[in-house]
């Protein structure tokens, strides 16, 4: 197994344990799906295909004025703010894997030298609440082309310093508003909001915006995600 496979396996096992107390519900045990679970998985896979077909690479997420930014910003993760993992930006590296020509790890300084862009967009949580924020960084599509990623691959997978993981489809990865974000509200990202680098993708729900990235891989093997493996729809496009 490659390292990413081994970690995926470990995380799936952990996710399973986390889901176990939800007895009596659907998706209570992802490893042993009952008939209803299989039906829901089938429909979710169908909905992934419908959403991929609906996705228009030229449709932009709405942008907002600076005075519309939500203040104070809202912290959200699968753990509380006191458990945020603090990454040292000086020693931080982004490891690259999968179908990428140049897999040398990236430093924050190197990332900051690529062309930057900013956006004021809305982050919509799968729970229904939303916030408006300003993010800045490198368009993921530019980065992928820069490192020679095979953009014909189906997935871009992310792993985080806090053991979170997620993945997106290549079309959404190449969308002009999809960023490897390094700043939030005009300042470098803070640990609670994903320092030093997070994914910011306004064409998907909040949980598809992994924070504190440590690995990026381009692959044709379905990578899943922390919430996705527990039953949340994988595509989750907006």
């Amino acid at each position: 197994m490659t390292p990413i496979d081994r970690r995926t396996f470990l995380m799936r096992a952990l996710a399973l344990g986390a889901a176990a107390p939800l007895a009596g519900c659907n998706y209570e045990d992802p490893a042993h799906p009952d008939l209803a679970d299989r039906f829901l998985h089938m429909m979710s896979a169908w909905n992934d295909r419908v959403q991929a077909a609906l996705f228009n690479p030229h449709t932009l997420a709405p942008t907002f004025r600076p005075d519309q930014i939500t203040r104070p910003p809202r912290f959200n993760a699968y753990y509380s703010i006191s458990d945020v993992v603090v990454v040292d930006p000086a020693t931080w590296r982004l490891e690259l894997g999968g179908q990428i020509r140049d897999k040398s790890p990236w430093t924050l300084a190197a990332l900051n030298r690529l062309p930057q862009t900013h956006q004021i967009t809305r982050l919509v949580c799968v729970e229904g609440w939303r916030v408006i924020g300003q993010w800045g960084g490198v368009p993921l599509g530019e980065f992928l082309r820069h490192v020679g990623a095979d953009t014909n691959c189906r997935y871009v997978a992310f792993r985080c310093a806090d053991q979170y993981y997620s993945s997106i489809d290549m079309a959404s990865a190449l969308h002009p508003q999809t960023l490897l974000a390094t700043s939030f509200l005009g300042a470098p990202l803070t640990p609670a909001f994903g320092a030093p680098v997070r994914l910011r993708i306004p064409t998907k729900l909040g949980f598809k915006n992994p924070k504190s990235l440590v690995q990026l891989a381009v692959t044709n093997v379905y990578p899943g995600g922390y919430w996705e493996d527990q039953g949340y729809n994988w595509f989750s496009g907006s």
Binding site: C25, N26, Y27, M43, V124, C125, N233
Partner: protein, 203 residues
Amino acid sequence: MQRSAPKRRAIHPWPLRLMHWLNALAIIMMIGSGWQIYDASPLFGFTFPPRVTIGGWLAAAIAWHFAFMWLLVSNGLLYVIWTLASGHYRKFLPLSPSSVVRDLRAALRFNLKHDLGIYNAVQKLLYLGVMFAGLVAVLSGLAIWKPVQLWFFCDLFGGYVTSRYVHFFAMTAICAFLAIHLMLVALVPKVLPPMITGGRQET
């Protein structure tokens, strides 16, 4: 012209009965899972108790909601096509404000005659009203699901935030219809068997 023996035909033809019960299933699943989804981020100062919600937690509720939306929408489209093609839509017409007032007064005095298969003005208004609420629920649902790709639906309702409220009130309207609908079936139980067996009326 000589009269032949009276023909007897179904009060509710089979396509209507099939679509009615498929719709009932879809509506129950959509409302139950929708209440669970609402509970994850309530719009108002209350949540729906777990025993009336479907899914048990947010991921499953969303999965049920986005599975049964296909049944709701495809069944609804089939109904529209069928009602136009078969001429069934004429049962909802004509509908004048004065006839609604007249029949509503009669209904509130428990004085409204119920002929199987013939809609009085109050019924016409309620059925057309719930169809409109269903349409608004679907369109506002699409606005919440796809505020970027289907931005025109989002704009139609005044943005993402308003769309959530519109979706909620469309559900409320459907629930209000269901309460009246079920209450009337309880008051006039003879209307239930024809929706299952079809029933027979003389023509």
